[in-house]
Amino acid sequence: METISVYGSIAEELKNEVRAFRFENKLSDAGRIVACGDGVLTIAGLPNVKNGELLYLGGDKYALVMNLERDRVGAILLNDTYELGEGDIAYSTGKIVGVPVGDMLLGRVVNPLGAPLDGGKPIVSKKYRPVEAPAPAIFDRAGVNDPLLTGIKAIDSMIPIGKGQRELIIGDRQTGKTALAVDTIINQRGKNVVCVYVAIGQKIASVNSVIHTLKNHGALDYTVVVCSTASESAPLQYIAPYTGTAIAEEFMHAGRDVLIVYDDLSKHAVAYRAISLLLKRPSGREAYPGDIFYIHSRLLERSAKLSEAQGGGSLTALPIIETLAGDISASIPTNVISITDGQIYLESELFRSGVRPAVNVGLSVSRVGGAAQCKAMKKVSGKVRLDLAHYREMAQFTQFGAELDSSTKAILGKGARLTEILKQRQASPVSMSHTVIALTVMMNDLFSDIAVRDVNAAMDGFFDFLEANHPDLPARIEETQILTDEDEGLIREYLSAYKGNVARISDEIRALQEKSGGKA
């Protein structure tokens, strides 16, 4: 019964609308394609078209206006198509390229135009955002003072990242840049941070592997993946980061904290270079066009911490740049370094010698620094950098096989153990209290009696001991975010209890072995 009435009411509505409809003739701005090839269209006509406007070419083909001349318009095709020819008509739409935005994107993998790539339902949203948007104004911003924990000890202690900051991850190929970004995304589980991962020009297999890692660690539920792989057209790769930012901005303006990873901007620059060269724009250093700085600066400026009046949301950006042979003075790296609020420098030398994550602490910096650290972390990590710097200085002397005095030996021992404790396995994020306790132990040199290569195992054992016997200590540090002197004393106490346990057990074992060995 209900179904019939539903149909009936629909039919009534439609009939009324048809009666009220005014048939109009449609007038649209249009132009004629004069030349097309390599994904670039030259169009005559389109007198009122604006830069960055979307053009409709019939079917589902669209193009993006990039060049405006007196009687010609240059546009780049957004979908690969071989069905266009000279003489075809291109219609102006009056709109800038936009993407659907909203909560329905969480857990999905989409292309830069919002079409799904994960075989799921099409993305249907009431709200569309243009991919290009102005960055938040100066008075709409607040200072960065909330930490964004990556779960990686080396970074949270010495190169802390705050919500609303842009921190560049830069290094040669295969140094763990993507792994670092993905680990940060995994660490946001349960922290109410939305994550967006933008893959630009990556191998499909790599993106697949990232998606699987995220899924296996339960991180895909709060992540949106925007994907334009190496086989897609240059215009789509060019738009991808702006699409990701538009999606992230929707969450940011709703008051949420968002993390966006651009992997990587070097390939983005290459895609833009291809487009510009095809549009016959003049090329500059390394054949990049003149506005190669602007495409990244306007992208990264949209990451910010908003003021309370604007909802208090934030967008933290982790752009990734790949260098060639460690050359950070090349065109793109220097550009992006000057835009971001610091960089994490990954070295292949360190990676190969087993220091993973291969962070070069000396060259890495976070310009937000201590303002984005809780009190506990600030207290223990203040001297870590300095000690590591001393260690690196002294380490050169060991190569001479020279005789060393006791203080130098102490610095070397402490530095070696610090370096060892800062190593970490992939996809194993570590909580803030864990880092604080580990660094307290190391900075007070409480492991000086343990061999360097056993330091990590001993630390793991200590944490097991703490979890079994004194779980209130890490929980307290985690909640209050402060490391009191009493807590520090407790750590020492528990550590000697732990060491005592270990010593006692190993002595008894040895004694038993001797007795049984002697009698036998």
Partner: protein, 171 residues
């Protein structure tokens, strides 16, 4: 006669015999003095040594006995600890099972509510979809009809209308 007997038997006379006897006594005395003391000392020392060894042996036996007892008690206390920990773990497991049950029930209720909401939304979507399809069918029919039915005269009228409108709007 006796002298002759002795002399005859031993080939000695009683003076030589006394001298030999004296000799023998002196010898024994000297040797006794020289040898007896050391020998006695040696024997005594040996006896003391043996006594010492016996005492050490007793002590070692006692020590071994003590060690054995100590380890037995250690094992005993370890077993007690294990038993206590096992009981603790059992209690923990029971508590956790209860919590899991409560959580599962809560989740089931939430799922039910979500399913209801989803069903309602599906209905709304279905209505919109029907509307769209009805519209499409209607237009399809209309275009089919118009395709067959438009005569050149009607077409001419449409064209004139268009031209009039464009003329008025300064084409």
């Amino acid at each position: 006669m006796s002298d002759c007997l002795l002399a005859g038997i031993l080939g000695l006379d009683w003076r030589d015999f006394l001298l030999h006897l004296l000799n023998f006594v002196i010898l024994v005395a000297i040797v006794g003095l020289l040898v007896y003391k050391p020998v006695i000392r040696f024997v005594r020392a040996r006896r003391d040594e043996i006594r010492e060894q016996e005492k050490t042996h007793d002590e070692k036996m006692k020590e071994a006995e003590e060690t054995k007892q100590k380890y037995t008690s250690l094992i005993g206390s370890a077993e007690q600890e294990i038993a206590a920990k096992r009981k603790e773990a059992d209690e923990e497991a029971a508590k956790r099972a209860e919590a899991a049950l409560a959580e599962a029930k809560e989740r089931a209720e939430k799922l039910l509510a979500e399913a209801e909401e989803e069903a309602r939304q599906e209905k709304v979507k279905a209505v919109a979809a029907i509307r769209g399809e009805v519209a499409e069918v209607a237009v399809l029919i209309a275009s089919g009809i118009l395709d067959k039915e438009i005569t050149p005269e009607e077409n001419a009228r449409i064209i004139d209308d268009c031209l009039k409108e464009w003329d008025e709007n300064n084409a």
